[in-house]
């Protein structure tokens, strides 16, 4: 059964929209910067919903004034990992918030491997379910080419 006909993972903001253009991404970044957020770029090849902490691409960017700086880092990341998932995250350091307040995907592989439902038979005909990321079927170094 196909539950996600477009085959795109939906995580973070704007994930039901068509991919944002660089100009639209800049506007989002500038919105965050105007609010004093620190942006960071992260990437992964395994977008499992429980994979909370993706790899950091460089350090979070504090004290920036203009979106061009974040976009420069993003382009660098896209060049390095063209077939990975890349997301931008905004950290609000205000006392009492101190957490990520914005997060959206800005790069996807050409073919998104997606997820499968795995059933495990346990004692007494119990079934345990788990979500399995197809991306992890292949060894890490072969995942970059974006699905079979």
């Amino acid at each position: 059964m196909m539950t996600n006909p477009v085959g795109r993972i939906t995580q973070g903001q704007f994930s039901y929209l068509p991919d944002l253009t660089d100009e639209e991404i800049s506007m989002q970044i500038q919105y965050g910067l105007n609010k004093g957020y620190a942006w960071s770029v992260e990437y992964t090849d395994d977008p499992h919903p429980r994979n909370t902490y993706w790899e950091m691409f460089g350090q979070p960017m504090f004290d920036l004034k203009d979106a061009a700086g974040v976009l420069m880092e993003l382009q660098h990341c896209r060049k390095t990992f063209p077939q990975h998932y890349i997301r931008l995250m905004a950290f609000d350091s205000t006392r009492g918030i101190e957490t990520i307040v914005m997060s959206f995907i800005v790069n996807r592989p050409d073919k998104e491997p997606g997820f499968g439902l795995v059933r495990q038979e346990a004692a007494g005909r119990t079934i345990r379910y788990t979500v399995h990321s197809y991306a992890t079927d292949r060894p890490e170094r072969e995942r970059g080419s974006g699905g079979a």
């Binding site: 253009t21 100009e23 639209e24 506007m27 989002q28 500038q30 919105y31 105007n34 609010k35 460089g58 350090q59 960017m61 004290d63 920036l64 004034k65 203009d66 979106a67 061009a68 700086g69 974040v70 420069m72 880092e73």
Partner: protein, 326 residues
């Protein structure tokens, strides 16, 4: 180019969204300057919309001397205004190269002028934010392999949308050490100076002769810098006027005879080593304030008038070692 169809709260309207369809002029959408500058047809329009002339007038008023520098800044501002008008008529779409080099001895006002320059460029819409990030070699160059690129990039990212001011830029290039990491920083800088001219303006500053040597050994850097401004040393009378202004800003004044004593002080000090123009004036006045304070401090039971507290007397200046050394 796909323009976003929505408006984000808290975001100034992007010129490609609002301005272009409203006025029907295609030229306005070519470059993404601030929206308020579009549609201007005369120099007065641009100046009225950008308020750049107020910054230039301030520069003229606040900074003593520096006549050649002021003329060059006026020229550059005029060029930018005319470019803006040309752009509005669809004559030119390419952003001018605005990277500059400020050469001159210490204390001749390079940093101060750079700050004003950032403001002027911001008013005219050539940089988006108009802040100044001042750095030296230590902020750009790392200490081990692989340390330099992230460091330089971090500084560049912070300076995006504003002006990057590199003080004593010639230290970036050390010909005596071929494995020096400064070269790496220069290469990254060059790349960004070339590719992201819309996002960033770089100003290099330093002593004249050493900057000339730096440019000779880095022709790539030299050819990417359009404006070379030379800051002359101040003559003694300008320094005295600078001293007057500094005291005025701090609510001090010269007592009887103190101003001429200071003039004499300057005449002697200029000839001595390590003279740093306006910075030396500031330091001399700071030391005079110290002596004034200890002079007043000695008078434990006197009730001081505002004049007492704000007057630098002649002995405060005469006590300097410049007069003793002969």
């Amino acid at each position: 180019m796909a323009a976003p169809l929505y408006q984000i709260p808290g975001q100034a309207p992007s010129p490609t969204v609002g301005a272009a369809p409203a006025s029907g002029s295609a030229a306005e959408a070519v470059r993404s300057g601030p929206a308020e500058n579009s549609g201007a047809r005369t120099v007065a329009d641009v100046l009225a919309q950008s308020h750049a002339d107020t910054v230039i007038d301030e520069l003229e008023r606040d900074l003593v001397g520096l006549a050649p520098v002021k003329t060059r800044i006026r020229d550059i501002a005029a060029l930018l205004v005319i470019d803006k008008l040309r752009m509005n008529l669809g004559l030119q779409a390419q952003a001018p190269s605005l990277h500059m080099s400020f050469t001159g001895n210490p204390g001749t006002g390079k940093t101060t002028v750079a700050m004003r320059m950032a403001e002027i460029l911001h008013r005219l819409g050539y940089v988006r934010k108009g802040h100044l990030v001042a750095v030296t070699r230590d902020d750009l160059v790392g200490q081990y392999i692989g340390h330099t690129a992230p460091k330089t990039k971090e500084v560049l990212k912070k300076a995006m949308g504003g002006v990057l001011f590199i003080d004593e830029a010639y230290y970036l290039y050390r010909p005596e050490n071929e494995r020096d990491y400064g070269q790496e920083a220069i290469e990254i800088l060059l790349q960004v100076m070339e590719n992201q001219r819309d996002d960033l303006v770089v100003i290099l500053a330093g002593y004249k002769d050493r900057m000339d040597a730096f440019f000779r050994s880095n022709p790539g850097m030299s050819s990417r810098i359009a404006h070379h401004l030379d800051f002359p040393d101040y003559p003694a009378e300008d320094l005295l006027r600078i001293g007057d202004k500094m005291l005025q800003q701090q609510n001090y004044q010269f007592g009887p005879g103190a101003r001429s004593a200071f003039e004499e002080y300057l005449a002697r000090r200029i000839g001595q080593p390590h003279f740093a123009n306006a910075r030396s004036v500031r330091n001399a006045l700071d030391r005079a304030r110290l002596r004034q304070a200890s002079r007043l401090f000695a008078d434990k039971h006197k009730e001081f008038t505002p004049e007492d507290l704000s007057t630098i007397a002649e002995p405060d200046i005469r006590a300097s070692r410049v007069f003793q050394g002969g």
